[in-house]
């Protein structure tokens, strides 16, 4: 077991309500949650692995596969929806060949569908890694993706 993860388990071990913070910090550390890590969390929290897996799969934040190098979040908030977010989905699909929730074969891009990024005045928006791109059209989004994908 790696040292960082072990420290994490020890730090949270005796705190109340520690399951979700442990899952969050583990994902922050490793990028996703795998079976062994969830089993280790079950052990320190005194819960069954099934309970831990049940909690993890309930929340949208947790991933069970390694994410791509870039994460593209397409906003489907109300303002984005009425301003053409569906066209952005189509542009992503034709450009990267994946649907929301999937990662491209080369591991470059993970695409997610999110409920609201809260930048409604810039709708429609996407968040690529940490940066928000607003007032997009399908064509502009393709350019954003191509720019990020260029090494």
């Amino acid at each position: 077991m790696d040292k960082g993860f072990d420290e994490l388990l020890q730090h949270w071990k005796s705190q109340k309500g520690n399951v979700i913070p442990l899952l969050q910090k583990t994902q922050e550390l490793k990028g996703y949650l795998d079976r062994e890590d969830m089993e280790a969390i079950a052990e320190v929290t005194g819960k069954s692995p099934a309970e831990i897996y049940g909690v993890a799969t309930f929340y949208a934040q947790f991933r069970f596969q390694p994410p791509g190098k870039h994460t593209l979040k397409v906003c489907h908030g109300t303002a984005c929806h009425v301003s053409g977010a569906e066209a952005l989905d189509l542009a992503v699909k034709t450009e990267l060949g994946v649907e929301p929730g999937e990662t491209t074969e080369d591991g470059e891009f993970s695409v997610e569908r999110v409920a609201c990024l809260g930048c409604c005045s810039l709708a429609p928006v996407v968040m690529l890694d940490q940066e928000v791109h607003g007032r997009l059209t399908g064509d502009k989004l393709k350019k954003v993706i191509r720019k990020a994908g260029t090494p």
């Binding site: 309500g17 109300t78 009425v82 034709t94 409920a115 005045s121 709708a123």
Partner: protein
């Protein structure tokens, strides 16, 4: 000394505020100018981001909008150095967008530096808490909040003072005060703006509430998607603890209160209070039946009080101005102000705070400046997935809990999305239902399956495969889902469907009987077609088309093959000659002829 504040809320940053800030920082240091540079929260006029405010020594205030680094350099050169404001970039303070608002909760947002406790203290911060713990009994605090008429801003409008008195009445050595900052409605970002712009105000409200109910520990449950708000809250908590404004024996009194920040993990249902508590405890966020209410048996079995962020933002101002002054604002049954995130097809969107009792028309046309591109107004959506769409005929409705509820919508937490003639109301209903359907926790059968069946019907109608009997079935299911669900999610999920059926029924009928989507939105019901007379044969549409549906030789009229077209709209966006049109309804003769020709060729 002249001061410059850069609006650095999440949306300001998204619009380019960091670039403006960096330019200012660099230039001010190169030129060695004696000017202080600070960040502030959301200034509110999101449609004019990025914004900065210049405050001069003689009390002058100048708000600049829509800046980039080039314009910023010009402001430095002409205003900060030259002393002459640049009129063309200025947003005047009598700008109707700003002038028609009344700021109580957002009074500090975009004005003070949210990362500085000194700024908050200078704005009378923590004086309300001091007054409460040193000069008032918990009962007096509750009485004051009751007298103010404050109602919960999370959506349902439950009287805050009453809620506190219920939590106070429950005996128990251990009680919890929880702030619900799991703002999940798509299209709503009021709580985030307040947390980012004035975190201490929320902490002060929480501490006063904790004092009133007798709690010594509190949780702030914030969406993990709000990293900046979380960072500023954690900073604010440590600053307040250092000054003994939080922690043990606050300000020398007997009252101790400690706050933890808990990050949500992405589940809309956790906005419901019993689900939120389950989530804090580390479980799946599923609601449970009430009673017992949180005030009796909440977090870890202890009496718990839960308030929304904006509600808590009202507490300190009420104690400062006095309940009667606060109660003088608003209507008979809805006191004070309401914060809205005004967005959608509106000219001037952003974070606004208005007195209760203002009409929707004033909000849309005076503050919001009307519809983008002067298109026709279609509806205003209040309350997100739990709310409803209000048509033009009801625009003179007052913004207060009871009047809004009477329309079939709800006040909600503050999402206000304006829709124009290009918005399909059937699709809006489908959109909200697909959201609540996927966010249903699955505990109640009607919420889990009833919403699924409703969604299938709506999908069928937007594909042009609906039947007239679908409408009755939708209504029947809607009422059953409302009646048979345990929590607010299921009880309100049908509202967007019911309000659109009530006010926009003819649009449903158009989709079903004529296979028409007059908003030109529903993909299965529209066609993209080249207008022969306008096409110059520039080949742009063919080049952007991802499926080779648009084809043609250079300088010859192009053609869109309907069987290949996925209706992505890229050709329509790309065409510089307005030579592509979108049609709906029964196919025009030429399309049929083309289809026939293709068949013959095949």
């Amino acid at each position: 000394m002249t001061e410059v504040f850069v609006g650095m809320g999440s949306c300001g940053i998204a619009a380019g505020a960091r670039e403006v800030y960096n330019t200012l920082q660099q230039e001010l240091s190169i030129r060695n100018l004696p000017i202080s540079l600070s960040v502030t929260g959301c200034i509110g006029a999101c449609h004019r981001e990025p914004q900065i405010e210049v405050r001069t020594e003689d009390g002058g205030r100048f708000l600049y909008g829509e800046l980039d680094s080039e314009k910023t350099l010009k402001v430095i050169e002409e205003h900060l150095v030259g002393g002459k404001a640049i009129a063309e970039y200025l947003i005047p303070f009598d700008y109707p967008y700003l002038a028609n608002q009344k700021k109580i909760v957002l009074a500090n947002s975009g004005v003070i530096n949210p990362e500085s406790i000194e700024d908050y203290l200078a704005a009378d911060g923590y004086t309300a808490l001091r007054k409460a713990v040193t000069r008032m009994s918990p009962e007096q605090v509750i009485q004051e909040i009751k007298a103010s008429g404050l109602r919960g801003r999370g959506g349902a409008g439950f009287p805050t003072g009453l809620k506190w008195s219920l939590a106070r009445a429950n005996a128990g050595a251990k009680k919890y005060m929880v702030c619900n900052a799991d703002e999940g409605d798509p299209g709503a970002f009021m709580d985030r703006s307040l947390l980012e712009g004035d975190p201490h105000a929320v902490l002060e409200g929480m501490a006063i509430g904790a004092y009133a109910i007798g709690a010594d520990e509190g949780y702030l449950y914030v969406r993990a998607e709000y990293p900046l708000a979380i960072r500023r809250l954690q900073l604010a908590i440590s600053q307040a603890e250092e000054r003994n404004l939080l922690g043990s024996q606050i300000m020398g009194s007997e009252f101790s209160f400690e706050i933890h920040v808990k990050e949500g993990a992405g589940a809309f249902v956790c906005g419901e209070e019993t689900a939120l508590m389950a989530s804090i405890e580390g479980k799946r966020g599923m609601p449970h039946i009430r009673p017992p209410f949180p005030a009796e048996k909440g977090l870890w079995g202890a009496p718990t009080n839960i308030n929304n962020v904006e509600t808590l933002g009202n507490i300190a101002p009420i104690l400062r101005m006095g309940a009667s002054a606060y109660a003088a604002i608003g209507t008979e049954k809805s006191k004070g102000t309401k914060v809205f995130a005004l967005a959608g097809k509106i000219k001037q969107g952003g974070m606004i705070e208005v007195p209760m009792g203002i009409t929707l028309r004033e909000v849309v046309y005076e503050i919001g400046g009307g519809i983008q591109g002067d298109k026709k107004f279609r509806a205003v959506q209040l309350g997100g997935p739990s709310g409803g769409c209000i048509p033009e005929s009801l625009l003179d409705v007052q913004v207060d809990y009871d009047s809004v509820t009477a329309t079939g919508a709800i006040m909600g937490s503050g999402g206000m999305v304006v829709m124009d003639e290009t918005t399909c109301m059937v699709d809006v209903a489908r959109y909200f239902l697909s959201f609540t359907q996927s966010e249903s926790c699955g505990k109640c059968t009607f919420c889990r399956m009833g919403t699924k069946r409703m969604l299938e019907i709506l999908e069928r109608i937007t594909r042009g495969e609906g039947k007239m009997s679908d409408l009755e079935q939708l209504e029947e299911l809607a009422h059953k889902v409302k009646q048979s669900s345990l929590c607010g999610l299921g009880q309100t999920a049908p509202n967007p469907v019911l309000t659109t059926l009530k006010y926009f029924r003819e649009e449903y009928i158009e989709h079903i009987q004529n296979k028409r989507c007059q908003a030109l939105h529903c993909r299965e019901l529209i066609r993209f077609r080249v207008i022969e007379e306008a096409c110059t044969g520039c080949t742009l549409c063919a080049r952007v088309c991802p499926t080779q549906a648009a084809t043609g030789e250079r300088k010859a009229v192009h053609h869109i093959e309907q069987t290949l077209c996925i209706k992505c709209g890229l050709c329509y966006e790309a065409c510089r000659f307005d030579a592509i049109e979108i049609t709906t309804g029964v196919a025009p003769a030429d399309v049929d002829a083309e289809a026939a020709a293709t068949e013959v060729e095949a």
